[in-house]
Amino acid sequence: MTGANPASEGSGVPLLEVTGLNAFYGDFQALFDISASVPRGGALALVGANGAGKTTLLRTIAGVNRAASGSIRFSGTDLRTAPPHRRVSLGISLVPEGRKLFGSLTVEENILVGAAAAASDSWPLERIYGVFPMIASRRRQRAAVLSGGEQQAVAIARALAAAPSLLLLDEISLGLAPVVVESLYETLAELRSGGTTLVIVEQDLQRAMAACDDLVCLLEGRVALAAPVSSVSREQVVAAYFGQVPSGAP
């Protein structure tokens, strides 16, 4: 029985497992009984209308929002009481909505700050600049003066500096030109093939479904639909998105 433990740490155990999660935003309950899981090396698309609770869910997983009840297990460890810096050093990094760079710091300083609680040193600066060559040439510039696409790349680079095994991405394509979004998603595909597990919040349903294996649709803080991408149609997701009763129900 004891011998089976390390062996079972393979593909069978999900990297991230959220069970019965309730969370509040002030007095307002933002998440109701959320359950979801992502296998190691997998990619989960988290979709839903504005205010459905996607950002709150990501922030609760990252530990900056408190979970009122329920459990978050990462690689088999219960994260319930872990503060954010502990979760970062376990391998969870969040790329926040709106990028949230440290504007008075240079590009490189932003990335170095991201390494403050790094899980390992497997993402040194050279490797990060290899993934994002466009920001390497701007490393000495202050983050505030970059273009939107460059800022988004720096935000992802800052998260990568913590050497995450789970990367949470919140609305990375917001306000960016399609060609820039295209290249960001190509980078995400590379990261994934390198073994990084992804949870992606994305407004563009088509893009989210193309990039991920599994999909969870939130509606007013509850899971409206959870299924492998291959088994649902775009119409079904749209119906869940707007809370419409599936056709065929009484």
Binding site: P84, H85, V88, P96, F102, E109, L112, V113, A118
Partner: protein, 301 residues
């Protein structure tokens, strides 16, 4: 004629050196506000506490106060860190007014406790032979070594802080947290211990300033409030959050005080406050901040 010119040059030089003392006391205030958004109304009282601690230690050991600095400064650092962890940090969670009230209460408490413990007799610190040494620049201008040391200490402390903030990993984290505490937490910075070290550094510099104040002049339990006003004015004139601005602000105060004092001593301090009001009215972001920095400071706040 030369005598006349020399008098004014002397006033400017003495004022600049005096400004160093103001900058030394002000830089901790600037750091605390710039990083943690706390206006520490007890900063001057903490400086006076540093002077009293210096008095106790140097009297007990029978040595000039400079000798006990290696004991005093780490002690002040610990006091600052503990105050931040137990009192100021928790107060930050209750809006912007709470820390102001907490530090005001702390100021009143420190002043009264000092009065009970040490009476309100004015005291002075034993500065050893340095306290009375001076040197002559030209025939008529003589400068006190103590003033020069206070000015040098201010320059060393300010440059040291500047280097720590711009070159070290600690400084990067401090600046990132000042930019956006919420995101700092998100990327894994432990904000509470980081703030404790910042408060420790601020109180350490206050204690050092207190030692100079107590060696150059005298102090009593209520000296902190007056000190705070000058420090606060130096920070505002220099531009909030700019350390070199704080030095320049302190020197502007010192020169004003000294030059006006040359005309009429009664108006010297009044002139300083008028300068402060004029700067607030004309350039509220401070004399030594660029428009760019001012905008960012506004965006940060």
């Amino acid at each position: 004629m030369t005598g006349f010119v020399t008098t004014w040059i002397n006033a400017v030089i003495q004022g600049m050196l005096l400004g160093g003392q103001y900058a030394l006391i002000a830089c901790g205030l600037s750091l605390t506000f710039g990083v943690m958004r706390i206006v520490n109304l007890a900063h001057g009282d903490l400086a006076v506490c540093g002077a009293y601690l210096g008095l106790v230690l140097s009297t007990a050991l029978g040595v000039p106060v400079w000798v006990v600095l290696p004991l005093l400064l780490p002690g002040a650092f610990v006091v600052g860190a503990v105050l931040q962890m137990l009192l100021l940090g928790p107060s930050l969670r209750h809006g912007v007014l709470a820390p102001v009230l907490v530090t005001f209460g702390l100021s009143v408490m420190i002043e009264n406790l000092l009065q009970v413990a040490a009476t309100s007799d004015p005291r002075g610190l034993n500065g050893g032979s340095l306290a009375v040494a001076s040197f002559r620049i030209t025939g008529k201008i003589t400068v006190s070594w103590l003033f020069v040391c206070a000015f040098a200490a201010a320059v060393v402390v300010l440059s040291g802080l500047q280097i720590l903030l711009s070159r070290t990993s600690w400084g990067r984290k401090v600046r990132a947290t000042a930019d956006d505490p919420d995101t700092a937490r998100l990327v894994g910075i432990r904000v509470l211990p980081l703030f404790a070290t910042v408060a420790g550094v601020a109180v350490g510099t206050a204690a050092l300033a207190g030692v100079f104040i107590g060696t150059i002049g005298t102090f009593d339990p209520f000296a902190g409030s007056g000190t705070l006003i000058f420090a606060f004015e130096a920070v505002v004139i220099g531009g909030i959050g700019s350390l070199w601005g704080t030095l320049a602000g302190g020197m502007a105060l010192g020169i004003t005080q000294s030059v006006v004092g040359q005309v009429n001593q009664a108006y010297a301090v009044l002139a300083v406050h008028l300068l402060f009001l004029a700067v607030l009215a004309i350039r509220p972001a401070g004399l030594f901040t660029s428009h760019q920095e001012a905008r960012e400071a506004g965006a940060l706040g």
